[in-house]
Symmetry: C2
Subunit: 413 residues, 2 copies
């Protein structure tokens, strides 16, 4: 792909692992220049070097276990400023013009929700001016300036989001997400040896994969790319191999029904026992959890008998203690029984837009797991995915079995 790109406007996002040290920054500088030399105009979005952000967060928590979010944004936004200025210097050394900007400086305007701001608009005048001057423009990812003129950060996946938003605002020809993996795979290659890299994947499939455990891209950036129909190229910073294009529709008439399988181990199951089966009680629990920002993923309610039921649901492990506190308080109030939890679970998911029009994927999923003597604890389905909670120790086995059954090791693109 690289060799065909000439005279285009390209956004390239480099993640923290791509600029983790001086050598890698020099490598990224060379990569950028190889594109610029072919007449392309380049806007680079860089993350903070390696674990810089984590180190800053750690420093802050030592000083104040509950730091103000505004001050957190002041603090952690420095990470990208450092990597971007160093990257500019590395490009200069190679005789190519480059200029770095902070998010606020370049006019990435956000709302006022510190540490998880949303981009409202991007003033592109300054970038366009520098592009016209044949400069490589380097923008600090993950940050912006709020309508109240404060420095904000965009939360998880923020740099991907900065890149996609810039691609939208600048009407870029291509948006590359350069990272430490070389594309989107049918399954995590560390677990499934025969996993295949996909040449194409749809926005919807990518969203499902990301929300079900694939860690390559955060859902927010994919959502924006989908909304504005900006194709994304996910590829390795460190190789010239073609990556995966995330786009609206697959470029073939016929396509594989299932495109990927994922495994997630970051959830725990909570069960409230002997809940009176009256309208509104279950809703009460989930309302309370929503209020404190706990995201409930899967919910299963047993068939009621004697007007008493059990209800199980999954939440992120980091939310367990808060969830237990709330669930136990409600259980006590309504006269329910014990609230128990199980961290020893895994969630396997099967994803593919083809499912919409192909029946039998769910049945096949269940029967594969049954054949492998893997018990299914909970099930949830969407139009293009099926997820099953299984015991943690069966997770990898389940993933490999599903990958094989749906012939993902023989997928073509």
């Amino acid at each position: 792909m690289q060799s065909k790109l000439r005279n285009k406007l390209i956004i390239q996002k480099y993640g923290g692992s791509s600029v983790a040290n001086i050598e890698k920054i020099e490598g990224v500088a060379e990569r950028i220049i190889s594109y610029a030399k072919q007449g392309n105009r380049i806007v680079v979005v860089a993350s903070a070097m390696g674990d810089t952000t984590d180190a800053l967060v750690c420093l802050a928590k030592k000083i104040n276990p509950h730091p103000s979010e505004r001050e957190m944004d002041m603090l952690i936004s420095t990470g990208e400023q450092i990597s971007c200025s160093l990257l500019a210097m590395a490009i200069h050394k190679r005789g190519v013009g480059a200029i770095s900007f902070t998010g606020p400086q370049v006019g990435i305007v956000t709302d006022t929700y510190h540490t998880q701001a949303k981009i409202l608009k991007i003033e592109t005048d300054r970038i366009k001016k520098e592009l016209a001057n044949k400069m490589v423009v380097i923008v600090a990812g993950f940050q912006g300036v709020s309508t109240a003129l404060e420095i904000t950060t965009l939360g998880r996946g923020g740099s991907d989001l900065s890149a996609v938003a810039l691609a939208v605002s600048l009407k870029a020809d291509l948006c590359e997400i350069c990272t430490d993996v070389d594309g989107i795979y049918t399954a995590d290659p560390r677990i499934v040896k025969s996993a295949k890299k996909l040449k194409y994947i749809t926005f919807d499939e990518m969203l499902e994969l990301a929300s079900r455990g694939a860690q390559v891209m955060h859902t927010r950036a994919v959502e924006v790319a989908k909304k504005f129909n900006i194709p994304l190229s996910v590829r390795s910073t460190f190789s010239k191999k073609e990556g995966t294009i995330i786009m609206k529709k697959m470029p073939f008439i016929e396509e594989a029904v299932v495109r990927g399988v994922t495994l997630a181990g970051n959830e725990a199951k909570i069960t409230v026992c002997d809940l009176p089966d009256k309208p509104g009680i279950a809703a009460g629990i989930f309302n309370e959890l929503a209020k404190v920002g706990v995201n409930v993923d899967m919910i299963v309610q047993n068939v009621s008998h004697k007007k008493i039921t059990d209800i199980s649901f999954t939440v992120l492990k980091e939310d367990i203690s808060q969830t237990l506190k709330i669930a136990r308080a409600i259980a006590k109030r309504v006269g329910a029984g014990q609230v128990i939890f199980d961290e020893n679970i895994a969630k396997v998911s099967v994803v593919g837009v083809g499912m919409k029009s192909h029946s039998g994927v769910a049945a096949k999923t269940f029967s594969v797991l049954a054949k492998n003597k893997i018990n299914i604890d909970m099930i949830s389905t969407s139009e293009i995915s099926i997820s099953c909670v299984v015991k943690r120790e069966a997770g990898k086995r389940a993933l490999r079995a599903l990958h094989k059954e749906f012939k993902l090791d023989r997928i073509k693109s």
Copy 2:
């Protein structure tokens, strides 16, 4: 002094050693709060933590030995942003409101000379608003935003300068320079055991002391304080001891003639031998040096005989190689002799505004050195100071002898 301050507007500047680690930042937070609790409005200017700036410069030089000054400013301005946000968090933990700002954010407007920008004006609206909200306002020192909307830094002594400029703009009642020494001494206490801390010193004396080797404050900040007549209090971050007030005029009718002695070892002597004694030749050398930014300090020209003379001058050691190159080129061109240099020198200075009206200080200085068998190599004088170049090994001895002779160990204030 601290106990008397109530309902004042106070600027406090904390240097890098005052915020070098978490413990010190916590200490600074407590110190600030002790002032705020007495009804004072506080604007804090903080430097980067410890050696952060040096570490960033080192990182940049590894990537590009000649980094662009604009990108250097992008890079190193992050240091103060980090210390300021952490300081705000430490103050919050103690239940007091505080808010940190970058230089650009708070409207410290500078010219466009990156890495050595000059402050043009400060927009004080935002600071005043936050002060009215009873917030401790924390401003990143050493930085601003240029008229071209770029991030700039102010060069050496920049944070002191930010503090003084804020004191001017906000019409502060007091400007404290909080550092790791507890005031201005009659001599460096590490060399002269009997050195006394001065209670007061004039701007002019401070400027002389600073330019002749005293390292407590940079001359730029003192110059601005003098221009706008803002008294400065130089004192320790880590103790409650009163420091030294730098002001326009001493608050007594009679005062000591000599107020301090300094020793500087950062200069070298260059001698151009056998220079034709024609008008314009010496000037030629100094013009060339000025063009490349080399500062010449002391100049001595021998009495001419046979239309040939020797000329000696001192420059900073870091400028030696550049100076030699220029001097040797000119010497060759005009048919002069050898150009030799001596790094083995020291400069002792005697400073005091009283000298203006008291004769005999120079004579006393020379005779003390003679009595101690210390040879004087070069001499320069100003209205309020006398400096002598001596052999390096005699420097400390000369300093102690002068300190004793002028009875600085018995000075009262």
